[in-house]
Symmetry: C2
Subunit: 295 residues, 2 copies
């Protein structure tokens, strides 16, 4: 049996006339009669009761008509959906994000993606450390990672999203808050609040390196796992922190930010599996590009 049989049957059932149905199908009446006979023979069921004066559906025919219509619609639908998936308009994508972009870039990206690709099922996981994101990418737990380089893995491809200036977060009323800008050397005598431990936080490593390059060992007082916690600690006067500029957007009261001299910057990169050909991913990367170009 072929879809042809269903199409022909639906036409005859709707026209209740072989001649008109044949016309509608742009074919002659005899082959149409034959195809219907073939269908009935294959099913072992009489679908149409025909005389020379009228053609009518048997009960089995009426049931089959419903089903045939549904099948034909399902076939069209399947094609349409495949096209949408191929175009990246439909599908699923999980995005991971490093802490320092969780409260600035991530919500903006989420909003834009949901607007641009309403039929894609997005999921967002913030406050993820770079190595965890790489592992999640490889485990296919996430499909797109927003993290701090470097990442060196042959199955992961990076592209820079933007370069964030480094700034210093201070508690309101702090001695250094009176200054317009700060140097690394100013932090020598300060207690520092930093991210995570065990070298898993890229920011932590960068801060430590900056201090050592300035000739002193950082006084790490508190280690926290979320950026939001870090800022709260600073606001509570537990220390100061070096953070990427977008963290300032979190807007926690009791905190002030001062630029760090020396044009220190840290990259934010988008990481994907090199072999991931997901059309949704391509769309999402395009949207991300648009978004960062704007700001």
């Amino acid at each position: 049996m072929e879809l042809r049989h269903l199409r022909y049957f639906v036409a005859v059932a709707e026209e209740r006339h072989f001649g008109r149905a044949a016309e509608r199908l742009h074919m002659a009446q005899p082959p149409l009669s034959q195809q219907i006979q073939q269908l009935e023979a294959e099913l072992g069921v009489t679908l149409l009761r025909r005389t020379t004066r009228k053609v009518e559906l048997t009960r089995a025919g009426a049931v089959y008509l419903d089903r045939a219509r549904a099948v034909l619609a399902a076939v069209d639908d399947a094609g349409a959906e495949a096209r949408r998936v191929a175009a990246g308009l439909e599908g699923r994508l999980v995005v991971g994000c490093v802490g320092s972009a969780t409260y600035s870039l991530l919500p903006a990206l989420a909003r834009t993606l949901r607007e641009e690709l309403p039929d894609v099922d997005f999921a967002f996981r913030g406050e993820m450390l770079a190595p965890d994101q790489v592992a999640a990418l490889l485990a296919r737990t996430i499909d797109l990672a927003l993290l701090r380089p470097p990442v060196d893995h042959p199955s992961v491809r990076l592209s820079t999203v933007r370069r964030d200036r480094l700034i210093v977060a201070l508690p309101e009323g702090h001695r250094l808050a009176r200054r317009r800008r700060l140097g690394i050397a100013d932090l020598e005598t300060e207690d520092l609040v930093v991210h995570a431990s065990g070298g898993r936080s890229v920011m932590h490593g960068i801060v430590a390196r900056l201090c050592r390059a300035a000739g002193f060992e950082p006084r790490v007082r508190h280690e926290v796992s979320e950026t939001s916690t870090l800022v709260t600690f600073v606001a509570s006067g537990l220390g100061v922190a070096v953070v990427p500029e977008p963290v300032a957007e979190l807007g926690v009261t009791g905190t002030v930010y001062r630029p760090l001299t020396g044009e220190h910057r840290i990259d934010l990169a988008a990481a994907v599996r090199v072999d991931d050909d997901s059309p949704v991913l391509a769309r999402a990367l395009a949207v991300l590009g648009e978004l960062t170009r704007q700001t």
Copy 2:
């Protein structure tokens, strides 16, 4: 596009190998490749990513595979259902029934039909007068009528189900209840409870005719519309009634029944539309025949 394309695609997607898929489909590999190319061209979507080493589904292909399987299953299903409907194993049937069989034959028929044809959607409407049933048949509100002849309509075909003896329903302790059997003449001085009015009840007409044949006019005291009400009226001592024997099975306390001399009987017939070729109806009539043959 044809079902062939879907069948071939499913085979290749499952085997992930054109050669093996072709073998499974009992055909050569080149035409299989061509058909898949045709499908992709028609959809405008790449479903399979193939190299000489491996064949894998694209995301759109994975989605399309699901849909294709569903379509193929739906096609099989449609055929199976059409066969079931044609065999009368599936469908819908509404049965009407005259009052005097509503509490005896109808429940037995309902039970048997539901057992024998579990996938048929049956509906039963009891306590219907013969003319109403004929109208309902013609209006296609019911498909099978159990009624009292005569019915003379060219679009309705009758067949006798059984012949019910006529009996007399009396209130317990009634003067006539002392007798083993009664004649029509015994009713001359009795108040009668009868069905409906306006000549619409066949039983009413028959009782009236019997009385007149015996030389007296029936003393109709109460007219009711349901058999159950009629028996309750008798039980309450409001009168006596001539009813078909199966009414006794209703078992209303306070009522006794006595046979009527003279072998008076009334037919119970099954009525259907002459042009109704419903396979379910044929099955139901067969079941009805079985049921009445047993008893």
